[in-house]
């Protein structure tokens, strides 16, 4: 399947998830409504049955609990008044609900304190560590990789991959900096 030929909502239905560096606030719409309509829209386009309100709330509650997030927060408008860490946790709750086949996580570790970093790392492992799934984790730092061990590390500079390696490459970068690695 050529994902690039698809519109954003079609990519989502095909099993792609994008974790935002800056999750967007949507006043006036609760997280529960937003996610239920999104998930059911995906399921409709895959010809799967829609989830009822009760089924969806059960799913959302369990995913929130697994991320250490108070389920009451899902009654609030999407990301409105959430702290930076809460927004990133909420992104992972969304990923858990959507259960994608591939996730692109754009600096999901930025703005996280240690506890949130651990929770987010555990979330990525729990939701996405499976033989038929994949994650592209975009980060500047080693710290999230202490919790989510990468299979491959690529260094991207000016739109090109300039080096590739295993997990040890990330540790080397952390030690020596990008300038050294790019040289």
């Amino acid at each position: 399947m050529d994902l690039l030929a698809l519109d954003p909502h079609e990519r989502a239905a095909a099993g792609l998830f994008l974790g935002f560096q800056y999750p967007v606030e949507i006043p006036g719409i609760s997280y529960l409504q937003f996610l239920r309509e999104s998930l059911n829209s995906q399921r409709r386009s895959r010809s799967e049955p829609e989830l009822s309100g009760a089924e969806f709330i059960k799913l959302a509650r369990s995913q929130a609990a697994l991320l250490g997030m108070d389920a009451e927060m899902l009654k609030r408008p999407v990301n409105v008044g959430f702290s930076g860490g809460e927004k990133k946790r909420a992104e992972m709750v969304q990923m858990g609900i959507m259960n994608p086949r591939f996730a692109v996580l754009d600096e999901t570790d930025s703005g996280l304190d240690i506890d949130a970093l651990k929770a987010v790392g555990a979330g990525i492992n729990r939701i996405m560590r499976a033989p038929d799934k994949g994650v592209l984790l975009i980060t500047h730092y080693q710290r999230l990789l202490d919790y989510v061990e990468p299979d491959r590390v690529h260094v991207l500079a000016a739109g090109r991959i300039i080096r590739s390696g295993g997990p040890e490459l990330a540790r080397e970068l952390e030690r020596e900096g990008y300038a050294e690695a790019a040289a």
Binding site: D7, P8, H9, R11, A12, A13, L18, F20, P23, V24, E25, I26, P27, G28, I29, Q33, F34, L35, E37, S38, L39, S41, Q42, S45, P77, Q94, M98
Partner: protein, 246 residues
């Protein structure tokens, strides 16, 4: 005796669809009067009727410490007008939550005059408009603070969303203040849907039309949060929004 037919030269009728109004003027010429006695409270939900031309012209008098909350949905297919003249005695509390949802060539408007007659009264007016095609949505709102109406607290918040280039939003908050210890705020904005919000919603699986509908719902539905029985107006607003988006 029927009141004289208005003209566009009168400020309060400047954006009105007078051609549509003319045949039905006799039935609306006289405003309805509502009185809320001291310490009492009133809550009204004004739903659209489905007629081509819909008018509500109301004079509302609030006694000392009285409270009134009006929730109004203005979505007439041709011409809709909600006209309110409110007077507030000492300590009265008035709130209007209104939406203009217009399609095609329709004109929908809120025209209000809120008179703070006694001191320490509060007024809140929140108006949201969603317009497509060549629809017009207006808010003309005057707040008058009488001499002696100290500690008046007035607020007007007016926002409009234009979905097509031909749609028009008019917004005219107006203050006339004869007391020196008052707080009167107003804010207005006219915009389009936020591109980042749309992309975020689409990236979660909503097709573009559903994403637009959802964002517009958020823009309008917050108005009814404080209604003690808001189900009917919520449903009517959702239905009106569906027509605007499709």
């Amino acid at each position: 005796m029927t009141a004289p037919f208005p003209t566009h030269k009168q400020e309060a009728w400047r954006y009105a669809d007078l051609d549509a109004l003319k045949p039905v003027w006799a039935q609306f010429a006289e405003p309805v009067t509502l009185t809320v006695a001291a310490g009492e409270s009133l809550e009204e939900v004004w739903l659209p009727t489905g007629d081509d031309v819909q008018l509500r012209r109301v004079r509302l008098a609030l006694g000392e410490g009285a409270t009134a909350r009006i929730f109004a949905l203005n979505t007439a297919p041709v011409y809709g007008r909600v006209e309110l003249e409110v007077s507030l005695a000492e300590g009265a509390d008035f709130a209007l939550f209104g939406a203009n949802i217009g399609t095609g060539l329709s004109t929908n408007e809120f025209v209000t005059t809120v008179k703070h007659v006694g001191p320490a009264a509060k007024s809140r007016q929140t108006i949201r408009s969603v317009l497509n095609g060549k629809a017009t949505g207006s808010y003309l709102g005057k707040v008058e603070v009488a001499r002696g109406a100290q500690q008046t607290d007035g607020e007007q918040s007016v926002k409009a969303m234009l979905l097509d280039r031909g749609a028009t939003a008019n917004c005219k908050p107006e203050l006339e203040i004869y007391a020196d210890d008052v707080k009167c705020a107003h804010g207005a904005s006219v915009g389009e849907l936020d591109a980042m919000q749309l992309f975020y919603a689409e990236s979660r699986g909503l097709d573009p039309a559903s994403a637009r509908a959802l964002l517009l719902e958020g823009f309008v539905m917050g108005l009814w949060d404080r209604a003690s029985d808001g189900d009917a107006i919520r449903e009517a607003a959702r239905e009106a929004l569906r027509k605007v988006v499709s």
